[in-house]
């Protein structure tokens, strides 16, 4: 059911890759300021789901409304993308540009911001992710954790209302995971609406308002982190939790 405060409304979402159905009739509403963690085994459709939200994947049927804009054509997709930031597993920084240029490219070219304004904003966000001193380096000179924080800052420079995180720490060395999660937790505490696909259950307990467990393209279970971790309702969810929490 759509409520006035919802910034994302997804209903009956289907996605096929050839004969394989990656998403099977997903319904999901996200309230303003809500922090959602999506988990599930690989191939369960969790990445596909969040990639549909900003149309990096085209859905085959169903309805997606983001911030009151229904995704129907290229114009609406562009409008939605300007509200939605995204952080990828592989960072996807632009390797030929400096860190500062990575952050200012969008604001300058897509928003027509002046270089001075874009630089100032970029430095502000680099402060927030705690790497202002790296502004003039190339991405390849930074550690994975630093690169991912730059990627977060790059998204924030577009001042999105919603942030999507697609396994933001899965490509990182273990010692760098926490520095990235800290930044995401900060963002969550400031009230950013976010959907995070992750296997970091500690992070989920700390930051999530709601957990979503997916398997085989379906939402199997949703609930608060406490309900989810303490009393999973479904067998598949119990099994998944026992697998990832046994270490």
């Amino acid at each position: 059911m759509t409520k006035p405060g919802d910034v994302i409304e997804i209903s009956g979402l289907n996605k096929w890759y050839g004969d394989y159905q990656a998403l099977k009739g997903i319904d999901l509403n996200v309230a303003h300021g809500e922090r959602i963690v999506v988990c599930g085994p690989s191939g369960s459709g969790k990445s596909t789901l969040i990639r549909c939200v900003n149309s990096l994947e085209e859905h085959d049927s169903g309805r997606i409304v983001v911030d009151g804009i229904e995704m129907i054509d290229n114009d609406s997709i562009n409008a939605i993308r300007s509200e939605v930031g995204m952080v990828f597993q592989q960072f996807n920084l632009f390797p030929h540009l400096s860190i500062l240029q990575n952050l200012t490219l969008g604001p300058m070219k897509a928003r027509g911001m002046s270089k001075a304004d874009a630089d100032a904003r970029a430095m502000e966000y680099l402060e927030r992710v705690r790497i202002p001193d790296q502004a003039h380096k190339k991405p390849s000179e930074l550690s994975g954790g630093q690169q991912q924080r730059v990627a977060i800052a790059r998204s924030l420079c577009m001042e999105p209302k919603i942030m999507l995180f697609d396994e933001p720490t899965s490509a990182l060395d273990p010692e760098m995971i926490s520095e990235v999660l800290e930044v995401i937790v900060d963002l969550a505490e400031e009230g950013m609406t976010m959907i995070v696909v992750t296997h970091e259950m500690g992070f989920a307990r700390r930051a999530a308002d709601r957990m979503i467990f997916m398997d085989h393209g379906e939402v199997i279970e949703t609930g608060t982190p406490i309900e989810f971790f303490e009393a999973p309702k479904t067998e598949r969810c119990k099994q998944f939790l026992s697998q990832i929490l046994q270490h």
Binding site: R81, F88, H96, R111, M158
Partner: protein, 255 residues
Amino acid sequence: MKFKTAFLFGCLIFLVGCNAAPGTWGWYVIDPRTPAGYNNIRFLLNGFGATILLSVIAAAMSMIIGMLVALPGMSSNRWIRLPSRIYIEFVRAIPLLPMLFWVFYGLPVVLKSMGINISIDAFWGAIITLAISDSAFTAEIYRSGIQSIAKGQTEAAKTVGLNYTQTMRYVILPQAIRRILPPLANQFIYIVKMSAFASVIGMQELTRRANELVVTEYRPLEIYTLLILEYLVLVLIISFFVRWLERKMGSDESR
């Protein structure tokens, strides 16, 4: 290294030739110290102009046609992709020499039957053939260069609000150009060498001149040796230029 070895080998042949018993080698035919030799070598070296002009114009046309073929070839719409695919598969399958004959002797007839009265001389016949024949390869070089830039780059560009043109201009092409340049230079070297085929339709370039001189002087060994060295020099110059260009553009930062 490869080039240096080839060059030294060439010098060795020359020296052996100078010191060998009379009757086996006869460098007099292109010895600039004798009037006849001087005239001969001038005649041969004058072919450089035509070979270079031919190659440069053909390469430029090939790069333009290649881009026009490559861009629709990467469309997500298969009907836009299809003509590119057909062009590449078709052109790539035709050997250069038959295509040259067809363009030189056949194309004017086709054009005439369509009411277009254009005679195609050896120069333009060779250029058209080289450009078309090479464009299929150029197109594939562009495609592989652009597609080798990870999909994630395009996605990241989309999420920061860039449109298709901006994504190409600021994100994809600056990265692709560094990967495209070396194979493109290879293709240019290929064009320079294949331009020798223009000799068979009467184009007065390096090879044609060498052939003509061989007929009158009957010293194929010396003249063809020089011919090979002429191409070697051309290719070496291109190679050095490309190295310089690659260095100037900086190393590939993406890896």
